[in-house]
């Protein structure tokens, strides 16, 4: 009788120890500062996920070449979560409890940030992330999340909606289609835009939600085409944006404008998959390759050195990843530590200059700025709105060129 009892008590004690003690490494290590990342390097989010990690890598290389952070080299400890939320959660658990990393960077995208940020909060680790802006990320009121983009997901399509509503009444579209993936970031962006467009009298003629595993877009294209929608707001991540363009083009459907929540900003892979069909596609983002923000030129040059490609394109997500590094570096330098509570407190109180511009957060880690409207024109991504933005380098092409 005695042995099982001892075993049960032992197990209970062990479990209590696992649950109760945060294993945060708050002291500066003797060796390199290790930063843990679980990233969507394969699976349905692999293109943008890979791009974010490239941004992390460019940042780490620059920091190390300049002598490191507080005199320590930085080292990225990366796991591939295959775009699966459960895998990402267990990998962050592992990074904190087994690998005992000093700092954490977030994954792509909201769908993975929502569950993994709970792990970070449990261990009181600052979760600086470049791609989780859906309302659900902030709903649980964690104090350790910092979303490194200009604004939250609901505001992403604002510049597009503003532009559409600002068109002269004879040019303004009368109807819109909303084919969208079942994803928290996508629904936040799409619902916000749809409500404003409907309020302005632009009729919704198609709205359908498809699973992330959707592999056939022919029926979607047939239905959107028959709806004769003037404009399309595609609620997409990446592969589905590519598939939508291909399917619309196959049925010769020509909307006057097409906006994707995500996809066109993953510039290299998007261009590679679609060629000239990228032209006219719009998206909302916080960054553009030829941005005039301080440090951007060096980031772009170093990215292309590390990841050369024939079109010389830098994906938007790489800039988001790089910005995450800039934010973390600023906090570590300012607090002179890798104490995650100090880092979080500092970030709540300060704004940080990034290649996406200066970003500051409210008490829940929500950034307070606004997005840019971007459009592919002649195979180059341009900032086309809002008017007066220093990075605006072209006017929107509307209606967009035919596919």
């Amino acid at each position: 009788m005695r042995k099982p009892l001892v075993a049960i008590v032992g197990l209970a004690l062990a479990l209590t120890a696992c649950g109760g003690t945060p294993s945060t490494q708050s002291a500066l290590p003797s060796g390199p500062i290790v930063i843990g990342v679980s990233q969507a390097l394969t699976g349905d989010k692999s293109d943008p996920g890979t791009a974010i990690n490239q941004g992390y890598a460019v940042w780490a290389k620059q920091v190390n070449d300049a002598g490191g952070l507080l005199g320590h080299q930085v080292q990225l400890k990366v796991y591939d979560n295959q775009s699966l939320a459960d895998t990402a959660v267990s990998q962050y658990e592992r990074l904190v409890t087994v690998d005992k990393v000093n700092l954490l960077f977030g994954p792509f995208s909201s769908a993975l940030t929502i569950p993994t940020s709970a792990v970070a909060a449990k261990y009181k680790m600052a979760f600086v992330e470049g791609a989780g802006g859906a309302p659900k990320v902030f709903e649980r009121k964690f104090k350790y999340i910092f979303f490194v983009q200009p604004a939250v997901a609901q505001k992403q399509a604002d510049p597009f909606v503003n532009y559409i509503l600002g068109l002269p009444s004879d040019q303004r579209p009368k109807s819109a289609a909303y084919p969208q993936q079942d994803d928290p970031f996508v629904s936040a962006t799409e619902d916000g835009a749809q409500a404003r467009l409907e309020a302005a009298g632009i009729k919704t003629v198609y709205k359908q939600v498809y699973p992330p595993t959707q592999t056939d877009f022919a029926s979607i294209a047939a239905a959107v085409s028959h709806s004769k929608a003037d404009i399309v707001l595609g609620g997409t991540i990446f592969d589905d944006a590519v598939a939508q363009v291909q399917a619309y083009s196959a049925v010769h459907y020509q909307p006057k404008a097409i906006y994707f929540t995500s996809g066109p900003s993953t510039t290299g892979p998007f261009k590679q998959a679609l060629g000239d069909k990228v032209n006219g596609c719009m998206t909302g983002d916080g960054w553009i390759q030829n941005s005039k923000e301080p440090g951007n030129a060096k980031f772009v040059a170093d990215y292309l050195k590390l990841y050369p490609n024939k079109d010389n394109l830098v994906p938007g997500e790489a800039a988001e990843g790089y910005s995450v590094g800039q934010v973390m570096a600023a906090a570590v330098k300012a607090t002179q530590s890798v104490d995650n509570t100090k880092i979080a407190d500092w970030l709540h109180a300060h704004k940080v200059a990034t290649v996406q511009g200066e970003i500051g957060w409210d008490e829940l880690g929500r950034p307070q700025g606004s997005y840019l409207l971007e459009q592919w024109q002649n195979s180059v991504m341009h900032v086309v709105a809002p008017k007066g933005d220093p990075n605006k380098d072209a006017d929107p092409v509307y209606p967009k060129p035919a596919w």
């Binding site: 390097l41 394969t42 699976g43 349905d44 692999s46 293109d47 295959q82 775009s83 079942d182 359908q208 939600v209 498809y210 699973p211 595993t213 959707q214 592999t215 056939d216 022919a218 029926s219 979607i220 047939a222 239905a223 085409s225 028959h226 592969d239 598939a243 291909q246 083009s249 196959a250 049925v251 010769h252 998959a273």
Partner: protein, 293 residues
Amino acid sequence: MSPGLFAQSLVLGVLTGGMYALMAAGLTLIFGVMKVINVAHAAMIVMGAYLSLTLFRHLGIDPLVSVVLLVPVFLGLGALVQWGVVNRLAERDITLTVLMTFGFAIILEGLQGAIWTSSYQGIKTAYSLESFRLFTLYVPVVRLISAGVSLVLLAGLYVMLTFTSLGRAIRATIQNRTAAQLVGVNVRLVTTISFAIGIAIAGAAGPLLGMLFTFYPATHWLWIGKLLAIVVLGGLGSLRGAFVAAMLLGIAEQVTSVTIALDWAPMIFYVFLFGVLVVRPQGLFGTVERQSL
């Protein structure tokens, strides 16, 4: 919904259904001859898609050419797997083959992930996005080609089964294994050949799947569900049944996506399946086996 859109979804449904028929044909043939449910069937089709993708990317071989190249490869592979593994298990306990093919599906999925990663893939040729207009309807060229190739292959299979002595031996084995053996059919050989043909058809379907749909290692779970629904609905072991069920479900899926909702489309397979099984448990073209006199 406009009649135009309905007609468009019918066209897409018929073309997609033709492709489903080819994918399900091998599965139903293998079940007919061996009473083995090959859970790895869809994983083998996806393997065909990956091989075709590799041939296309690195050697520029058109996926339609790789259909021809993959058939003998998968034929040999099928014969080897049947002779080496499936047959041994089937003779001991037929239910073990379900576990075995399930395990084989997982191995194939892991292998695909290791070689090609789990990123989404598609085979995009120069004619991938072409379509032509038929009255008010658009007919996507790739879908028409794949339906055409499927039909040709299925017709070939039908002719082989109906008019050749091998076909007669296969049909005899499907109908009554013992009786076939009694009249001199080499049942073991026929079984191996049938299994191999079933896998060869999966190999041929691979490049077509790769041209039409996005695929990744885990996609085979989505497909095997659909394919099992098709072969059960058509009547296990019935090629004609699989064809009719594939058409029916292909059309129902497309029409549902445009008339009701996209997320209803995958469910429609099982709604049909339950409906038919309640009314006609042997499936549309299945026969009731007499268990005892």
